[in-house]
Symmetry: C2
Subunit: 231 residues, 2 copies
């Protein structure tokens, strides 16, 4: 096996806390809304929206635009159908303002000392860049589904990341808090690291973070991964 030289990271839930960030912002701006239910309802529409692109039902569409359509769908259910265009546009960009988990910035800085570290997210390039600049995520390179015009778990995304660096898939490790993302990466020949994020859906909805022995690494958080990788 060649040594791993590139680490590519899932973002939503793995590096940033989408649920907690959206809950805090919605609670602050729209205190009448059940922010936990709102965040989960928005996110529930994520895979079905991307599936319309994956299936070819619609052409390549950036996640910002998919998020906006999902938002339009759920606003009436939460009594927010009165929001004007500027309010909707601002709320939709909450995905650019997600906060890193407490270990993320320090963990990435350590991992960056030995590896090339890149996002590899279904988020669009602008979203990921704005998020990184705001949160201090020290990427060597912002890679996105937008570069490959395909959404994970499409193999073109994982193989595209290896292709960008002209290395074999085995020299790339996918880091994610989602076993399905890692399984698809493994099918493409990438190494995989699972990150436990039991609070991804909030403290009221603890997630199963059981290890899968198929993964190359299993880590509590990004600092633990840095420890295991000797960074």
């Amino acid at each position: 096996m060649p040594p791993i030289s590139i680490l590519v990271f899932d973002i939503f839930g793995t590096v940033v806390d989408w649920h907690g960030s959206i809950v805090r912002e919605v609670q602050a701006v729209y205190p009448q809304v059940d922010a936990d239910a709102f965040a989960r309802a928005w996110r529930e529409r994520y895979q079905p929206a991307m599936q319309r692109v994956r299936s070819g039902e619609i052409g390549w569409t950036r996640l910002d635009e998919l998020h906006r359509g999902m938002l339009e769908d759920i606003l009436p259910r939460f009594g927010l159908e009165h929001l004007d265009e500027a309010e909707r546009a601002h709320l939709n960009r909450v995905w650019h303002r997600l906060n890193p988990w407490p270990d993320s910035v320090a963990g990435l800085a350590r991992l960056k000392s030995r590896f090339t570290i890149c996002s590899l997210s279904n988020g669009n390039i602008g979203l990921l860049t704005n998020m990184a600049k705001r949160g201090g995520l020290p990427w060597d390179c912002v890679l996105s589904a937008e570069v490959f015009h395909a959404y994970k778990p499409d193999p073109r995304v994982y193989l595209g990341a290896a292709g960008v660096f002209d290395v074999s898939p085995a020299e790339v490790m996918m880091v994610a808090a989602h076993q399905d993302d890692l399984a698809a990466a493994r099918d493409c020949g990438l190494a995989t690291a699972y990150i436990e994020r039991p609070m991804e859906f909030g403290a009221a909805h603890i997630k199963d973070v059981s290890p899968d022995p198929a993964n190359t690494y299993h880590a509590r958080d990004l600092l633990d991964l840095a420890n295991q990788l000797g960074c």
Copy 2:
């Protein structure tokens, strides 16, 4: 006019010293070669190689591959036809190992404090990422012709950069040491900043760095640009 929020940078000659870097490496490894002539001969084939892609004669091809073809063309002229595959591959990746101009890292760090800073180069993503990691170039995002599958001065590259961030072209400023790059960006509605790099082709071939009043800014180097932009 909306305020400028995104700065996109040409790389070869603007942020890094391709001529000096190649000369130093060739002198060290192949002392019998006229390194100055070698570097210029390689670079002279740059625009014709990309023109084959722009014209549609060949499909999308990364710059690493174009550089390799250009290298194969010039090796015999410099008595280097005996290089084996590993030596050719290593020499071709000298474009990943170009050194920043002395002002680049400090200038970019200052500009980053007020603007989103991105590469916008015909170099491929892997080349630009390796170069940035080695040289300490603190990009918020590595943008490349590879993202848009088009080579500058194709308008898709300049307009693509604005599109990535969902801003109008006037909110983006192209920073380059080449008037033709800036003219193409201006035609797309971007602001432009010219950077003087009189030594781009080496001390023996001083370049004309006269101002063009059509540019939004004219700066001696990136520190001067940061001064003018109040960073």
